[in-house]
């Protein structure tokens, strides 16, 4: 059995370099990005890893071509067709084994490609083949691990591992290790396939495990890297990529080398962890950011290689995470297998169907030329380009670089944006170790300014400002929350290109820097026809039809009521008793609204500002003469001004930005995206609550102290006291496995989740970046409109699950408030009369009691609506799903660190958490009003109770 490969002939004969899939080697690898050869096969993309053995490179293409190339020249030695979507080949003892998606495992002679045998494997072979002793070990897409006899392909044994496998089997000692998409890692005996241990990880694993140094390391779709002890499967440590990037996942095999585990993630991170405890050593994301790094990384003692960002091949220093060199692959790469390392070369295939050999081949001896780039004052310059004779690199963090140059004299070119370019002659006749290059900075001057909204004059946050100087100098920055930016500009004429967030047009401005810093540059940007900063317009006009219907209904009702009063011979009145009640309630609303706003402003903005002695002018957004906190008249004026500004911003929808995960959008925009989700959930959850509360309350009121009554009382007490997030997590814990199995999705997170998207090849076109759907915004409705059943399935299931939890929490609160008042209904005269008429208790209970209770239910609903809003907000937030509740709690939770109202820069007189709370209060007031009015409409006797 091959373990690591330190002593033997240089080779990379299987997936991950050796049968233990550790993707690490003691070979040097490519320390420079010099192209040795490139050969294009013209047979479709290369998406498997090349393998190298005995100076021969074997590589398979997606169309099923298997090619053997000469390692030093790239010349094709032989080729053969082996079936579609082949796996990474495995070369061992003159035998080449390769599997394919059509379910064949083929054994060829490694020397000339002649067919030795081919064996059908039901379901197709997973990513790679393992060879040890006289057997080939493969995992299948149908969830089996097979041992095949190398001589004739006959099956020695076959065991089921319970779930489909998409990665290869790893071998170490006499044990096979396999990770399944069911989220388990299993250790099997090599001799008979018996299970030595099994460990559930809880999340699907899509690639082979890496076995090294007594650890089995796997990455899963939830972004966890788990290290299990190879001997008993106990969890040694676990680290989550989601601690760096939300929703990240891992679909490749980690690379494990002495002391280090390196993983690449779906969202473009390369991460190095300490192999002994899983602590983070470094992570590197910039060049890959947002692009999946689907090929697992490969480590040599000095470097990490990874393919990502569609076209980028990059080598990173293993100890520091600094980029050693990087190059682009012309065809791009979606390879799922790591590149091969042999000697001082790196061999990788790309999507254009080409194989590239990078590193240093033979030729004249090249000497390392190492040095450092510094400023005249001696400070190191990182990121400077250094190039000579076709070899080029970029200086690392301490300004160091290394080139490989043969004997001769070369012009050396050193440059970095913002510095004066340098070219000098260098004669090489041996290793150069201490070359020092001085690079003088261009004269640069501070330039600061603000990007503003042309109409309102307020700052525009998140705008990208690109500066181009006369000499090709470029710099770029992004405006902060106040819309301010600061940038270094070259002397002379500079052009500022401003790319504001959505909702504004681009702008360009020329400025002249004349040997001194320049400040106060204002770049106005024009809103592109929207009323909300940076987003789709808030479609208030959609509410017009509802308003019209409401007005018409009210009119009809007034006419009808007056006619009835006349018919009944009642004295004409401007308003009926009911009308008077409605008018009284409506008249109270403005007072309540102003009081709530005063509380929000005083406690959310004014008092924190006073406590820190902030500039009083900042309350009203500037523009007043400064005065002190010791002057009461001035403080009162500032309070008034600030409150006025707060109100204006609130009413005009100027609510600033809100963030959620990676999203940073205008608050009104997020609200417009997510409000329909909350409404949808509320409709389902309230319906469910009614379905539970109605029968339970009637049954318990019918027989006080009956089991139903005691049960509902106990249930509601427990429901109140067990925190709702625990209820939620308990339900999710139970539902999680079922969800994954049945729907291929996690019940937790945005709809659809990253896991689901991964399996369904990305978002449907009608789903936006924030999980917002088009055209109606209601995910269930939209998915049905688009006939996307898979999406509808998860949207409905998640909504039902969340609604069930909300109903559980809310019904507990509701019943608690309902207790006591409900028994009265059963002693009402109508019930007594019904009983006297000899009606059955059942009829009395459901017909008389139930009907009479309806207005009471409405009243209790009106008074418990704040509790309902709280329950739904919490469920949305804990589920990490879209909705007003998530937005509200995220803002509230972040408020102390992002700053309260007055601290939040661009919105000194308000903060979105205040707006969010105010919107909730409006909702509560409106619902309470509606519930109370409706209750009195249904049971006019309640008007008498009020009058008394």
């Amino acid at each position: 059995v091959t373990t690591t490969d330190p002593g033997g002939a240089p080779g990379w004969s299987t997936l991950g370099g050796s049968e233990n899939r550790s993707a690490s080697t003691t070979m040097v690898g490519a320390t420079v990005d010099q192209l040795v050869w490139e050969g294009c096969l013209g047979s479709g993309a290369v998406r498997t890893g090349p393998v190298v053995s005995e100076e021969v490179v074997d590589v398979a293409t997606v169309t099923g071509g298997l090619y053997a190339l000469n390692q030093s020249s790239g010349r094709i030695l032989w080729h053969r067709s082996v079936g579609p979507d082949p796996t990474t080949p495995d070369v061992s003892g003159g035998l080449l084994l390769v599997g394919s998606a059509d379910g064949n495992l083929t054994a060829l002679s490694a020397g000339n490609g002649s067919l030795l045998w081919s064996e059908g494997v039901p379901g197709g072979v997973a990513q790679g083949v393992g060879v040890a002793g006289g057997s080939a070990y493969i995992a299948t897409v149908t969830g089996h691990v097979l041992a095949l006899n190398l001589s004739d392909g006959s099956t020695d044994w076959s065991v089921s591992v319970g779930a489909p496998v998409s990665g290869a089997v790893a071998l170490s000692g006499s044990t096979l290790y396999v990770a399944t998409t069911g989220g388990s890692v299993l250790a099997l005996s090599e001799s008979d396939g018996s299970v030595r241990w099994e460990r559930a990880l809880g999340s699907p694993v899509d690639a082979a495990p890496a076995v090294y140094g007594g650890l089995v390391v796997v990455g899963d779709r939830s972004g966890n890297v788990s290290a299990l002890r190879a001997d008993d499967g106990a969890l040694a440590w676990r680290w989550s990529a989601r601690s760096l990037v939300p929703y990240d996942a891992i679909a490749s095999t980690p690379s494990v080398s002495p002391g280090r585990v390196v993983v690449s993630t779906d969202l473009g991170e390369i991460v190095a962890l300490n192999a002994s405890d899983g602590s983070l050593l470094w992570n590197q994301s910039a060049p890959y950011s947002g692009y999946p790094v689907t090929a697992g990384p490969v480590t040599t003692p000095g470097l990490v290689y990874a393919v990502g960002g569609a076209t980028l091949l990059e080598a990173t220093e293993l100890s520091t995470g600094a980029v050693a060199w990087s190059t682009t692959l012309d065809g791009g790469s979606a390879s799922q297998s790591p590149p091969a390392v042999v000697g001082q070369e790196l061999i990788v295939g790309d999507d254009a169907g080409c194989v590239v050999d990078i590193g240093r081949a033979g030729g004249p001896p090249a000497w390392p030329v190492a040095g450092v780039v510094v400023t005249p004052s001696g400070a190191p310059v990182a990121g400077a380009e250094v190039a000579a004779d076709g070899d080029g690199t970029t200086t690392g963090t301490p300004g160091t670089f290394q080139l490989e140059l043969a004997n001769g004299t070369y012009p050396v070119y050193v440059d970095k944006a913002g510095y004066v370019e340098r070219i000098f002659e260098l004669t090489v006749d041996g290793p150069v170790t201490n070359l020092s290059v001085v690079l003088s900075p261009l004269p640069l001057f501070h330039l600061d300014g603000r990007v503003t909204d042309e109409d309102s004059g307020h700052g525009v946050a998140g705008a990208v400002v690109d500066l181009q100087g006369e000499d090709g100098y470029r710099a770029s920055t992004v405006t902060d929350r106040q819309g301010d930016f600061e940038i270094l500009a070259g002397n002379g004429s500079d052009t500022l290109d401003v790319l504001p967030p959505a909702g504004y047009g681009e702008a360009e401005l020329s400025v002249t820097v004349d040997g001194a810093a320049l400040s106060g540059v204002v770049v106005p940007v024009a809103p592109s026809g929207v009323s909300v900063p940076g987003g789709d317009p808030f479609r208030l006009d959609l509410l017009l039809p509802f308003g019209g219907i409401a007005v018409a209904g009210l009119g009809l009702w007034v006419v009808d009521a007056r006619a009835r009063r006349r018919a009944a011979g009642l004295p004409p009145a401007i308003l009926s008793r009911f009308g008077q009640y409605v008018a009284m309630r409506l008249a109270l609303i403005p007072g309540e609204v102003v009081a709530v706003l005063l509380i929000l402003y005083t406690f959310g903005t004014f008092l924190p500002a006073a406590a820190t002695g902030a500039n009083l002018c900042s309350l009203s957004g500037g523009g007043c003469t400064a005065c002190s906190w010791s002057d009461p008249a001035c403080v009162a004026g500032a309070f008034g001004n600030g409150f006025g500004t707060f109100l204006v911003r609130l009413v005009t929808g100027n609510w600033g930005f809100a963030s959620y995960g990676a999203l940073y959008e205008p608050a009104a925009q997020l609200l417009a995206w997510w409000l329909p989700d909350s409404i949808e959930l509320a409709i389902v959850a309230l319906a469910l609550s009614v379905a539970i509360a109605y029968p339970v309350s009637i049954l318990s009121s019918a027989r006080p102290d009956s089991p139903t009554d005691v049960g509902s009382r106990l249930g509601s007490t427990l429901g109140l006291l067990v925190p709702s997030f625990l209820v939620l997590l308990a339900i999710y814990g139970v539902a999680y496995g079922v969800f994954l199995r049945v729907l291929g999705d996690s019940p937790y997170g945005l709809v659809p989740s990253a896991v689901w998207l991964f399996d369904h090849g990305g978002n449907p076109s009608w789903v936006g970046i924030a999980g917002n759907t088009a055209p109606t915004g209601f995910p269930i409705v939209d998915s049905l409109l688009h006939r996307d059943w898979a999406f509808a399935e998860i949207a409905i299931t998640k909504t039902l699950l969340q609604a069930a939890v909300i109903a559980l929490i809310y019904v507990a609160i509701y019943l608690r408030h309902l207790r006591g008042v409900i028994a009265r209904a059963m002693t009402a005269p109508s019930v007594v009369a019904a009983r006297a008429r000899g009606l059955s208790e059942r009829t009395i209970l459901w017909r008389h009691g139930g009907r009479r209770l309806l207005p009471t239910y409405l009243l209790v609903f009106g008074s418990t609506i704040p509790a309902y809003v709280g329950a739904q907000a919490l469920v949305e937030a804990i589920s990490n799903d879209t909705g007003l509740g998530t937005l509200l709690l995220t803002e509230v939770v972040q408020a102390p660190s992002t700053g309260f109202g007055f601290l939040r820069g661009a919105e000194p007189s308000g903060n979105f958490y205040q707006v969010a709370i105010f919107l909730v209060v409006l909702l509560v007031l409106a619902t309470r009003l509606a519930a109370d009015v409706l209750a009195r409409y249904l049971d006019p006797r309640m008007l008498d109770e009020v009058a008394r």
């Binding site: 559930a200 809880g202 999340s203 966890n224 106990a234 440590w237 009081a595 709530v596 509380i599 929000l600 406690f603 959310g604 924190p608 406590a611 820190t612 007490t717 109140l720 006291l721 925190p723 709702s724 997030f725 625990l726 997590l729 814990g733 999680y736 609160i813 608690r816 408030h817 006591g820 008042v821 028994a823 009265r824 009471t856 009243l859 209790v860 009106g862 008074s863 704040p866 709280g870 919490l874 937030a877 509230v892 939770v893 972040q894 408020a895 102390p896 660190s897 992002t898 205040q914 709370i917 909730v920 209060v921 509560v924 007031l925 309470r928 109370d932 309640m942 109770e945 009020v946 008394r948």
Partner: protein
């Protein structure tokens, strides 16, 4: 007048109202008899006595160092954290490395104060203001009704957030728990005052009050002897709900903070502060993840049990007291 006060007072029939607080007229024997027929009250009082004795014990044992819950770095291990064992009878919460039993014991005095205090204070303010408002119907009534209309309209967990973080910078750190309790009482009193006011309004019109007035009782005597005692039933219905309200804030904010590194949202001075809700949040956060299949049940079960027992105690005492005083 909007809410459900009409319903709450309506459950109490006139005869029941008259029977309330007539306990003084009863002999010692009848009192004992009524106590025997009221197992909720007995059970609740026994639980209360248990909590108080644990609290006093903790105060005596730890004194001024009560809040300094030790965190053992050696126990904050990610793999195989110690469960219930002789050394740690209720196990250990990893991540912070806190002994669960010690945390729960130290937390008892704090929770009795943080949860019991605001409820008692709110019930006191709400009961007095509500009774007086319902009886006098003057400007006090306008203030009580208006203030409660506004305060009850804002979900209380959001309101406490706004108020607490609005004034917290003015208050030195050792006094912030007191501030939290006082603010919670300031938020909760309308929930008591509204139904009490509605009941007092009705009671003020009852015949026995008219009779007392005709007999020449002073206003003060009318309020304290007749209206007030007969208007307090809603307090017992509301108090158990507020146990939930306060624990919601104490638990949910630390729990959300556990996932959001941005969050500094806690009303407690330290992360590992001995407080049941906080311990529950820490336990749920470190002891349970359905995503990774981790389940260290002892980390959240025992704090949860403490909270449930406390809530059950308040429920039993309130239901029992209501039943006892109304003579049912």
């Amino acid at each position: 007048m909007t809410g459900w006060e009409e319903m709450v007072h309506a459950e109490i029939s006139e005869s029941e109202a008259e029977a309330r607080w007539s306990d003084r007229a009863l002999g010692r024997g009848r009192r004992a008899e009524r106590l025997r027929r009221n197992p909720s009250l007995v059970a609740g009082l026994l639980l209360l006595a248990g909590f108080v004795s644990v609290g006093v014990g903790a105060l005596v044992a730890w004194g001024n160092g009560l809040a300094n819950l030790p965190t053992y770095g050696a126990l904050a291990v990610a793999v195989d954290p110690p469960g219930p064992s002789p050394a740690h009878p209720l196990g250990v919460i990893n991540g912070v490395g806190v002994d669960v039993l010690e945390g729960l014991l130290r937390a008892t005095p704090f929770d009795l104060g943080l949860v019991g205090g605001p409820i008692l204070l709110a019930a006191l303010i709400g009961g007095l203001l509500g009774t007086y408002a319902g009886f006098s119907l003057g400007w006090v009534d306008v203030v009580v009704t208006g203030a409660s209309d506004v305060l009850v309209g804002i979900p209380s967990f959001l309101l406490i957030f706004v108020l607490y973080f609005g004034v917290v910078r003015w208050v030195p750190i050792p006094d912030r728990l007191l501030l939290f309790g006082l603010l919670f009482a300031a938020i909760l009193w309308p929930y008591y005052a509204r139904p009490v006011r509605a009941l007092a309004l009705e009671v003020s019109g009852e015949r026995y009050v008219e009779a007392a007035r005709a007999a020449g009782a002073s206003r003060r005597r009318l309020v304290t002897r007749h209206v007030l005692p007969n208007s307090l039933a809603p307090l017992f219905a509301q108090a158990p709900v507020d146990v939930y309200t306060i624990f919601f804030v104490l638990t949910v904010f630390p729990f959300l903070g556990c996932f959001s590194p941005l969050s500094t949202l806690s009303v407690l001075p330290t992360t590992a502060f001995p407080e049941w809700g906080n311990l529950l949040a820490l336990g749920a956060c470190h002891g349970w993840s359905f995503l990774s299949g981790i389940d260290f049940w002892w980390m959240y079960t025992f704090p949860l049990a403490a909270i449930v027992a406390f809530g059950l105690m308040v429920s039993l005492v309130c239901d029992g007291a209501d039943r006892y005083l109304s003579g049912r």
